[in-house]
């Protein structure tokens, strides 16, 4: 098992704190070579257009896509990370900033059987307006999906890394 956190831009330090809390070894992923041999990759919150561009320019995108196609890489994406999962082939439709601009950012209780008493921080968050047939809703907000698992992909519209929530990372690392 080899865990990497994409550390180009966004909330990678916050994801690192969560992994440190649960005692998981990880490395920061900042170039193509860093992607090779990973079993688990975390794509943090940030700006999806920035992340996409930086990934493509550095050749990391190709490498990640190859591992996705070879079925060798588990990926957790939060917020912007979820938008990237859609671009990497997850059957999910993300409506960018679907919950509105910054004034509409919010913290709310989520409904989840797997993760009781889960809270979600949504910051200019994408709305999952369509979930593919193979997608499993793991958490909802007023019946809307906000955490979807599909094969090797785990997409979250919110930021567990901002509130010290460790259960989702633990779940992801068991995949």
């Amino acid at each position: 098992m080899k865990i990497g956190i994409l550390a180009l831009q966004g909330s990678f330090a916050e994801h690192a704190e969560i992994l440190q809390t649960i005692g998981a070894d990880f490395s920061f992923v900042r170039c193509r070579e860093d992607v090779q041999g990973l079993t688990h990759l975390i794509i943090p919150g940030g700006e999806s257009s920035t992340l996409t561009k930086l990934l493509k320019d550095s050749g990391m995108w190709e490498e990640i896509l190859k591992q996705v196609q070879d079925d060798t890489l588990q990926i957790l994406g939060t917020c912007a990370g979820a938008i990237l999962l859609e671009k990497l082939g997850m059957d999910l439709y993300c409506d960018r900033n679907g919950y509105g601009a910054q004034q509409e950012s919010f913290l709310a209780d989520l409904q989840s059987e797997k993760f009781p008493n889960l809270k979600g921080v949504f910051i200019r968050a994408p709305k999952f307006s369509r979930v593919g047939k193979k997608g499993i809703n793991l958490a909802t907000l007023q019946k809307e999906p906000v955490m979807v698992e599909q094969g090797n992909f785990l997409a979250l519209a919110f930021h567990p890394e901002l509130v010290g929530e460790t259960r989702i990372h633990e779940y992801f690392l068991k995949k």
Binding site: Q9, S11, S49, K53, L54, I123, L162
Partner: protein
């Protein structure tokens, strides 16, 4: 079903999502699109970039709401805009325009020479400039969710940004258990504000560098010094090839620790913005 909104955690949370990125000054929708395409994490909408404000003089104010709305429509990345120091009505207007972040900025002509805006009363997050720890903590106490060095905007000269960054770091690291009370008094902030910095050895909010970044190397320099991201004002759209410069500064900010990448992206960028020695300036914005 309750939703907590507009809390400090949500405001500073957006700043965290911008970390490692470049925020670019833009004066119209077309420039905003160039910025987004180059990989900017946010745009700062303003009528005149700092270099033009310096050249044209007069009073610099918040931009025309039409310009801000046009820019908002043109991009999906966060949109920021500037208000004059202390001008809380300009801030109310920006909030009504539903942008994402307000910069209470010394680049514009101050509206109040005694007080800054009481930022905690607003729903939108604010970023403010600072030259030293006291200034940064006063702004944070007023509600700022992000800090940037002031540097000296519109000069293309990085020296003031370096000075302010080092000053803030020096003051953070000179805090001791014994001097917290005295420092709090000196800075005019509550003791726990200083104590938080002493414990964490950093400011409690995301801290970018601004004011004088003109080349990819300038951006990488500030990142190597520990900045969490950079604002580039005139450096892009006052340069000879804005698209190339924008992309190069984004790449250099991300690859700040890889000189071979910074070297490659610095090739053939043409002329940077027209730049000035600090001692030749008529006004220092940072003193506002």
């Amino acid at each position: 079903m309750t939703r907590e909104k507009n809390t400090f955690a949500l405001k500073s949370g957006l700043a965290r999502m911008l970390k490692g990125g470049v925020i670019m000054d833009v004066m119209n929708a077309r420039q905003a699109q160039i910025a987004e395409k180059s990989g900017a994490v946010a745009v700062m909408a303003l009528e005149r970039i700092p270099a033009l404000i310096r050249r044209e003089k007069g009073v610099a104010r918040m931009s025309d709401p039409k310009l801000i709305n046009d820019i908002k429509k043109a991009v999906t990345i966060p949109v920021m805009a500037k208000v004059r120091i202390g001008h809380f009505v300009e801030a109310q207007i920006l909030q009504a325009l539903d942008i994402d972040f307000i910069d209470e900025s010394e680049v514009l002509t101050p509206a109040d020479d005694e007080a800054h805006i009481e930022k905690s009363e607003f729903r939108l997050p604010f970023v403010c400039g600072a030259r030293n720890l006291g200034e940064a903590l006063r702004r944070i106490q007023e509600g700022a969710a992000m800090i940037r060095t002031k540097g000296e905007a519109g000069t293309g000269n990085i020296v003031e940004a370096v000075r302010h960054w080092k000053q803030i770091q020096r003051e953070i690291h000179s805090l001791t258990k014994a001097n917290i009370n005295a420092r709090a008094k000196e800075y005019g902030v509550k003791r726990n504000r200083v104590d938080d910095v002493f414990q964490a050895r950093r400011l409690p909010v995301v801290t970018f560098v601004a004011g004088g970044i003109a080349t990819p190397a300038d951006a990488a320099l500030m990142m190597q010094m520990g900045a969490e991201g950079v604002f580039v004002g005139s450096g892009i759209f006052e340069s000879e090839h804005p698209e190339k410069m924008a992309e190069a500064i984004v790449q250099a900010t991300m690859n700040y620790d890889k000189p071979e990448v910074v070297a490659r992206v610095s090739e053939g960028l043409g002329e940077p913005m027209k730049s000035f020695a600090i001692e030749d300036l008529e006004h220092k914005f940072a003193e506002r």
